[in-house]
Amino acid sequence: MADDVRSLSAELAGDPQSLVFVRLGELLRQRRQFDAAARVALHGLERHPHLADAHDLYARILADQRDFERAFDEWDMTLRIAPQHTGALKGLAFLYFTVGDLAQAERHLEAARAAAPDDPSLEQAFLMIRGGAPPPAARAAEVDGGAAEPVQALPEARVFAGLEGANEGLLLLDSAGLVLGGALRSPGGEDVAVAVAAYLAGVSQEATRTAKLLGLGEWRGLAAEGPGGHIYLTLPAEDAMLLVVRERAVPLGRLAMLAQRAGQAARRWLERQR
């Protein structure tokens, strides 16, 4: 395999426009050299921004690095370019599975099967989804039927297991402002979950009062920009709030999408606890 990498690297160096970067990036990904694989994929994307396989490759690398949010975006882009791309359909199925949206996961697998009825890895993926088995932790691409390696299950106890940034910047709290799950650190690294949760109880009550008194109906989300980052607050259940915090580089619209996915995970977790 090392020879393959050397040979493909040489080929790419000789012809930077070559599509061989897709094979090279995939080889590096399989060797778990994710930084090198990402560099190859990004250089390839600069030259071939409309190549579906290049976006698919980069999505796999991101998924292997557990950056599921960006992997979602890349697979979404892949499907915009090539709506029948089975790799992207299976990748998105995996991501939906990780957040507990089994209906969407199955829908994407069905679309993949329609596009590639002879793909043996699909049956395995269907079994995993229908059986409710835990998804692979960081080997999203193995949904694609590649060289399987032992995988580690995601810890079910974590509310946001499987979501990008699950260990920080996602906070689930009850209506009284007590933390139910997730974690939150300030940009300086200080654990601020309890303090922020306490303040957010007041924010939620005031948002409810404001929406009601102004005749705006139920509130669905509260987005805010700050110099140190952006936040999005939403209500995944009647008696629970979900806070998503991300750095300023993440646009509010994308934050809302992440909050939607995290909300689904939170609802499933809350149902299991009841």
Binding site: G202, L214, L216, G217, A223, A224, E225, G226, L252
Partner: protein, 117 residues
């Protein structure tokens, strides 16, 4: 800063399609400083609620180490409340329909906040 300049700044906000009204509010006590509202919107109520929510949100964002909020947007089934705090302590507030172009309203609110600084 005079009432004419405030009025012009608010007019730019209300010209965005879907905006039902805009106002300048004292962030400290929730009183109306200037307003351009469609009929049926209760200015004093909007001002008081926006100031209260802004204050609570600022505390939460401060606790999170994110600094003072620069823009916030309450999304509701039947509309939205959008707020930009100005350096002077005033809040520039807009009430809008649910399908309003939020990005455009945000820009106009930021411009109005510059006038109100």
């Amino acid at each position: 800063m005079n009432a004419v300049a405030f009025g012009r700044a608010l007019e730019q906000v209300t010209q965005v399609r879907g905006v039902r009204g805009a106002m300048l509010v004292s962030g400290q006590d929730g009183l109306v400083v200037a307003e351009q509202l469609m009929e049926g919107l209760r200015g004093p109520a909007v001002a008081a609620l926006a100031a209260s929510l802004s204050s609570r949100l600022s505390r939460a964002m401060g606790a999170a180490g994110l600094g003072i909020g620069q823009f916030w947007h309450l999304q509701c089934e039947g509309g939205a409340l959008l707020v930009v705090p100005a350096a002077s302590g005033l809040l520039v507030v807009a009430v809008a329909d649910p399908e309003v172009n939020v990005g455009l309203v945000r820009l106009e609110l930021l411009r109005a906040a510059e006038v109100a600084r």
